[in-house]
């Protein structure tokens, strides 16, 4: 059985088990939708008062917001296994993963495909739709593909962060919440164009955690907006590649972690 087919099975099992609690899934999805909707309402209020933020209008900012919201909701749905990895290490359940003749990463991705993330996903799609409709950008095929590339690139960066977060559990036997600053914090940060922040903050999110490369830079090319920081257009088109690169690097660190693993024996 190939990896993809096996993942399909994992996902199907996970979805079926979640649908046993249908009302609960619906409730949580609606809840997540509402929370993110009021969050966007807050952004609207700021634009209503101030008009623009360092030259950016609400529909332009909504493009960055929509793309990052979609990416994070998808990554959050896929990466559940890495998020709860600490409890797995504590209980010694990772031993079972290791003895199966399949990659650890595939098995952890298969832990759950979290259905309730559809709440935030829907909100992200609506915000992105609002941005595209009110901006009247020329959404040619290459640009539409760039939207897709930006979303996939962002999923890779977020997934990489979740892998690194899980990796720390090999040493601490706990999934450290300190990574939330970069995952949840990264989502909040990416909802606005990177150029509004101070330079040390921009550098952190360009060269170390490349969320700026997978959201801000392609966003500029999609909007046809010149970069206030002066990045050439060709770089904006190629920048989403930073996502897969970051994920591959994170997976190398994960491999080192797996080699260091000592079972808790419980």
């Amino acid at each position: 059985m190939t990896g993809l087919r096996l993942y399909g099975r994992y996902a199907a099992v996970s979805l079926r088990s979640q649908l046993q609690y249908r009302a609960s899934v619906v409730m949580q999805s609606i809840g997540a939708f509402m929370v993110t909707v009021v969050e966007f309402l807050g952004m609207w209020a700021l634009f209503d008062r101030f008009g623009q933020v360092r030259g950016w209008t609400l529909p332009e900012v909504a493009l960055f917001y929509g793309m990052i919201s979609i990416s994070w909701s998808l990554c959050d749905a896929l990466g559940r296994g890495f998020e709860v990895f600490g409890t797995m290490v504590k209980a010694g359940d990772f031993d079972r993963v290791l003895v199966r003749p399949r990659s650890t990463v595939l098995q952890l991705l298969g832990v759950e495909l979290t259905l309730r993330r559809i709440g935030r996903f829907t909100q992200g799609v609506l915000v992105l739709g609002y941005a595209i409709a009110s901006l009247d950008v020329d959404l040619s095929v290459p640009r539409a593909l760039l939207v897709l590339a930006a979303i996939i690139g962002s999923i890779c960066v977020f997934l990489g962060l979740l892998v690194l977060q899980a990796t720390t559990a090999f040493w601490t036997t706990e999934t450290l919440e300190v990574w939330h600053a970069f995952t949840y914090g990264g989502v909040t940060m990416s909802q606005y164009p990177l150029s509004i922040y101070r330079s040390w903050f921009r550098d952190l999110f360009t060269y170390i955690i490349p969320l700026g490369c997978v959201n801000y830079l392609p966003g500029l090319a999609i909007l046809g907006h010149p970069d206030p920081l002066g990045t050439p257009v060709i770089v904006q088109w190629l920048a989403p590649l930073a996502g897969p690169v970051f994920l591959v690097l994170a997976l190398q660190v994960w491999k080192i972690g797996v080699r260091h693993y000592r079972s808790t024996g419980s």
Partner: protein
């Protein structure tokens, strides 16, 4: 004498919740990060406007943001997991056997639920925001210490905010008697509390036409009003009005909570044996 059992349950729960120190440290780091990002966002908006006369200055906004991050755990988010487990397992029946007022007991649990994590987080957050930020070369972003009078006013309204937040928490916990999982209520209360308390965007920055409604809703009392007493946006002359709003809403929510709890207990069906 009469308060002794409540004090006992409060201090027992408080000490238990203080055990979650590692989570608190991680939380502080995350909240510092959020605080910095939020201040940068407001800074960008403030730098972009030609209208100089905004409801609060950037220094006041910075204080507002840091107080919000420091007191995040005091917000009425989430239900008491032990009460949820009790309702599920049926052990909630034992609560009825206790020779104390049940609402008082659950309110005391609520106070512990809101204060213990807040104390753990607020102290290091305050140290960072008041003293560490200037050392990092960011004095303009610090949590400005209040004037003596505003400090006293803040202390009073903080107590008001705490009892109000606890009344809301207790109401959420009581709702578990009906919903068992409580997800819907928790989600709705989280949404309302985060939006209308000013935790998402400071309430004075909302449009003028919304201000009256926002001010009279109960949620302003748990964050926005005390924060603005602290940073001087609400003059001390209005302290009485702020406290009246907080205590008035607390009273309403306590009465409502008592009624619902009494009714919930009457129709309670304990599952299993």
């Amino acid at each position: 004498m009469m308060l002794r059992p409540y004090r006992a349950i409060l201090s027992a729960r408080f000490r238990m919740l203080l055990q979650y120190r590692a989570a608190a440290i991680a939380g502080v780091w995350t909240q510092i990060f959020f605080g910095l990002a939020l201040i940068m966002i407001y800074e960008a908006f403030y730098a972009s406007t030609t209208v100089a006369d905004q409801p609060m200055t950037m220094v006041q906004i910075a204080s507002y943001v840091w107080l919000g991050q420091a007191l995040l755990a005091m917000m009425p988010w989430g239900a008491d997991s032990e009460i949820r487990a009790m309702v599920r397992s049926g052990a909630v029946a034992y609560e009825l056997c206790r020779p104390v007022d049940l609402y008082g007991l659950w309110f005391a649990r609520g106070v512990a639920q809101r204060t213990a994590p807040t104390v753990l987080r607020a102290v290091p957050m305050t140290i960072f925001a008041v003293w560490a930020l200037p050392l990092l070369g960011l004095p303009e972003w610090r949590l400005e210490p209040p004037t003596a009078a505003a400090g006293v006013g803040f202390a009073c309204t903080l107590v008001g905010a705490l009892v109000l937040a606890c009344a809301m928490t207790t109401l959420i916990n009581i709702s578990l008697l009906w919903t068992i999982s409580g997800e819907g209520i928790v989600m709705i209360s989280t949404t309302l509390a985060s939006f209308f308390s000013g935790m998402i965007v400071p309430l004075p920055l909302f449009p003028e036409w919304a201000q009256t409604v926002l001010g009279w809703l109960p949620f302003a009392g748990i964050a926005d009003l005390p924060f603005r007493v602290y940073n001087g946006d609400i003059p001390l002359a209005d302290l009485g009005l702020v406290l009246a709003r907080q205590l008035g809403w607390t009273l309403v929510l306590v009465v409502l909570g008592r009624r619902l709890l009494a009714r919930g207990m009457r129709h309670l069906v304990v599952q299993g044996g």
